[in-house]
Every structure is written in C-alpha cells, then in structure tokens.
C-alpha cells in the first residue's frame, strides 16, 4: 500500500518508509507526520513510532522527526504546489488526492466572522491509504437483500472511524451495480442503477469527475457535493435505485434521506458511531431510525482476526418502548434483535 502513496512523499520520507519490510508496507493504513515530532505509522489497527533506521517501536524516544523543510515539501506535493486552489478542502480540514487517499491536516486556523476559513501553518498530516477490497461486502450482502423488490434494503452502517465503512459501501455499490448478488436465489437479478454522493471523494475517488475505483457500470457519482443537495440532485437527474452516502449526520442529510426513501429508493448510508446505542444519542440518526427510514442497521467492528459485522433489523429498535431512551442498550432486547456475525480477514486481497 506504500507504493500507492509513495509519489506524495518527499524523498527523505519515502526512503525511510521503504525500509519497512514488504508485508508491513502492504498493510500500511496511516502515516502520521507531525513537524518536529516523532513519525508514526498505523497498520492493522495498531500504531508504532518509526526510528531513524527504519525499525518500529512503541516508545517515541529516538524516533525520526520530520523537519520543517520535509513538511513543506509534503504540503507542496499533496496540494500539487497549489495551496491556493484548495480553499474548500482546507475549510474541511482534509485533502483527497487521486487514488482516494485522504490526508487530514491540522494547524492554526484562520477565522472569518467566527467560522473557519482555512488552515495556515499546517503542522500535522495524517495520510490515510485508501484500499479497494473487492468482495468486502460478500458476507453482508445476503442479509440485506430485499426479495420482493429485487434490490437492497435501506441500511445504515455504523462504526467508529478506521473500521472499513467506506471500503464496505464501495464494494456494495460495485456489487449492486454489476448485479453480482452473492446468493443463489438472486443470481438471475439484474444490476441496479446506483447513485453515489461522494462528498469527500473517498468512495469513488473521482479525478475530474471520473471514478478511479471500480464502482460498477451502472453507477453515477456526484463528486465533492454536499450530501443533502447531492442526493436530491441525483434523485431528480439520474433516477437511481440505490443511493450510497458516506458519513451522514447533519439535519439536512436526514431530510434528504427521508425524501429519497419516500421515492422508493434504497438508501445505504454510513455514520460515525461506536454502536447502535451511541448512534441513538445523535438526534438525526435517532429520528431516522424511529421513522423507519432504514430497514437494517449494521454495526462494524474490526478485530485482530478481521472485520465483524452485526445486522439488526431497524423495526426492532423503533417498536421497542425503550427506543426513546437513548441510554437503553440495544443488547437489552435479545428477543427482537437477531444478530449475525460475519468474519473476513482484514488482509484479504
């Protein structure tokens, strides 16, 4: 995976990281670069500091510290020497580069009338390597199939960051679009028209409007578009049958999802939340769940062995008297919840 982001790195960083053993390079997930502070890398959900000789330690002393010059070169390379052309990205705090890799930035912000206008004096970078895992949704898809409408049920996928939500929805989009339904009963079904609203350019990783990841032949992508507006635009213009959205959470997102599901479109959305209980603490998600906008809720957890998922029918949540109490754990409703565990090795190709 290092090879995919190597072109972004200044020479000195690249040479250092290339000293990592081959399998480690393959599993690289994050590179955290902080000016004058130890270089940290993340792989398989763990993180280590990197020493000058390329070895990895848990303790930070003696680690390689990127200089101001290195950080400047890195910033130039990730912005294509044009920070001025990245105002929107700086406002959001990250840059998506070709290949779908997302680079988070931190530094001193510039305020304009109380709201953030950008970041200057950028001192920390977090390069997240995007990975396309074909078949990531194979275990999950059979659970989400709507047999009467021959499509997917509306689904909300919950997980904390770094658990593979985006990888999963990308693979769902691809499978639905190609018509690769992973069960025998669905084998004759056609592919569905898929619309993706890709606000962070992470799902499809579009470069000039053309997806660089394989998201299927019947997929339309609204790139770098605010989710709520993008959903409505796609519904009006491209008549999707399945809508895919990443990281919902604002009130207007909820509004748009409601509209789309009234139009008979299956919505597959992800949200940042540790689990269902956590999600119900967020008003927008709680409201959508209570209204029955989603048929299923999926929780993702990544463990040492792989990605586990747990599918919960959403009616079980909204029908229960405990649903209005955000403190009630969904696990307290064992009769209504039918859980299913799937397993996939994290380092599957």
């Amino acid at each position: 995976m290092l090879a995919r982001v190597a072109h972004l790195l200044p020479l000195e960083l690249k040479t250092l990281l290339e000293r990592l053993p081959e399998p480690m390079q393959e599993q690289l997930e994050e590179i955290r670069i902080r000016e004058g502070r130890p270089l940290e890398i993340g792989f398989r959900g763990q993180s280590r500091f990197m020493m000058n000789d390329g070895s990895l330690r848990q303790a930070a002393d003696g680690a390689y510290k990127p200089s101001a010059d290195t950080c400047r070169k890195l910033l130039e390379r990730i912005t294509n020497y044009s920070l001025y052309a990245m105002e929107e990205e700086l406002k959001r705090g990250f840059i998506t580069v070709s290949g779908g890799h997302r680079i988070g930035l931190a530094g001193r912000t510039i305020l304009d009338g109380g709201s953030v206008r950008g970041i200057r004096d950028i001192g920390a970078f977090n390069i997240r390597v995007a990975r396309e895992v074909i078949g990531a949704s194979a275990h999950l898809m059979p659970k989400l199939i709507d047999r009467t409408r021959k499509t997917l049920h509306s689904t909300l996928i919950l997980a904390p960051p770094q658990q593979g939500k985006t990888t999963l929805v990308r693979d769902i989009a691809r499978s639905v679009s190609y018509g690769l339904w992973p069960t025998i009963e669905a084998s004759g079904w056609q592919g569905r028209k898929v619309g993706i609203v890709d606000e962070r350019s992470e799902i499809a990783a579009c470069v000039r409007g053309i997806p660089t990841f394989d998201v299927g032949p019947r997929t339309d992508v609204m790139d770098a578009c605010p989710k709520a507006e993008g959903m409505m635009m796609l519904v009006r213009s491209m008549s999707p049958e399945v809508l895919i959205i990443d990281e919902i959470g604002r009130p207007e997102d909820g509004e748009a999802i409601r509209e789309a599901s009234h139009a008979g479109i299956s919505v597959v959305a992800t949200a940042h939340a540790y689990d269902l209980r956590d999600a119900r603490g967020r008003p927008v998600l709680l409201k959508l769940l209570e209204e029955g906008a989603f048929t299923y809720v999926v929780e993702l957890k990544r463990t040492e062995q792989g990605v586990m998922h747990r599918v919960v029918p959403a009616e079980a949540i909204s029908d229960s008297p405990a649903s209005r109490e955000t403190s009630a754990a969904p696990r307290s409703l064992p009769s209504a919840v039918h859980a299913w565990m799937g397993r996939r090795r994290a380092d599957d190709p």
Partner: protein, 172 residues
C-alpha cells in the same frame, strides 16, 4: 593591403561590440515588461482560474516570448523531474540556469527568487499580494532600466565604433 583589411576588421568588430552592448540596454526594459505581463498572467491563473501551479506556469510560458518562457517551463518541470526538490528549489534553479540568456540584472533576479519562496504555499489572497509586490518592484526596475536605456544605448552604439577608430589610429 593586409593592414587595411586588419583595420577594417577592427572597425567592424568594434561596431558589433558597441551595438551588442546597446542591445542589452534596449532588451532589459523590454524583458522586464514581458516579465511583468507574465506575472500578471500567473496572477490571473491563480486568482480566477485556481489553476494548479505547474499548469499555471506552463500556460504562462506558452504566452510569454523566449528567453523568459524557459524560466517558467523549467520551474514547472523541475518539481517532477527532481524528486528531492521543493518548488522553491526548482524555481531558483530555473532562474539561475536561464538568467544569462536574458538581459536582466541581479535586482530583478532577487525579486523573482523571493517571489518563488512564497508561490504555492499560501491561500489565494496571500499569493496575489506577493505577486503584486513583485510586480511593483519590477515596475521600479523597469523605470530605472528605461532611464539607463536612454542614457547609454546611443552612447554604446557610437562608442564601439569610436574605440575601434582609436585602436586603428594607434596601430597605424
């Protein structure tokens, strides 16, 4: 006979040297003007087009006459060709390599190099301010260059011939 040919050669050479010197004085304000136009073009690309810097430089190069165009072209190419370069390094190297081909002097070189250390690494407003500053500095250099042109261009044109005549007289 040979003396005559030699004298003619000296006269010819002296005239050419004089004209060349005069041409340098005439070229400098012209090139400064072209440079200012090029920077204005770059300003537009950055301010309105939000064009990425390497592409903006390429476009500027294509609208600028040689030898100035080569500076912009090389600065854009340098960052891709040499991996260890930051933009500042690439820009500085392009200017230094190409400078002898131009009629411009140290002052404007340092203005350009200073501009290069800010290009691409700040927001739009900041970029435009830096380009504006460079343009102002170039303008004052251009005025000085015009004054020099008026003063020395004609002088050199005749001076070359006159020195050659003097050498011939001394030799005879």
């Amino acid at each position: 006979m040979i003396k005559l040919i030699g004298a003619a050669l000296i006269l010819f050479a002296g005239t050419i040297i004089g004209f060349q010197q005069a041409a340098r004085f005439a070229d400098r304000p012209r090139q400064l003007r072209q440079l200012a136009h090029a920077l204005q073009r770059l300003e537009t690309e950055i301010g309105y087009g939000h064009t990425p810097l390497p592409e903006a430089l390429e476009r500027t190069a294509s609208a600028t006459p040689e030898p100035l165009a080569a500076i912009f072209r090389r600065a854009a190419a340098g960052v891709w060709e040499t991996e260890s370069f930051s933009f500042r390094d690439s820009w500085e190297q392009a200017i230094k390599q190409q400078w002898d081909m131009t009629a411009m002097k140290k002052n404007e070189q340092s203005v350009l190099i200073r501009l290069g250390s800010t290009l691409g690494i700040s927001d739009k407003e900041d970029q435009l301010k830096h380009i504006h500053l460079a343009l102002l500095q170039l303008k004052s250099e251009e005025d000085a260059a015009r004054e020099d042109q008026g003063r020395y261009e004609k002088m050199w044109k005749s001076l070359g011939l006159l020195i050659a005549v003097l050498v011939v007289i001394l030799m005879v």
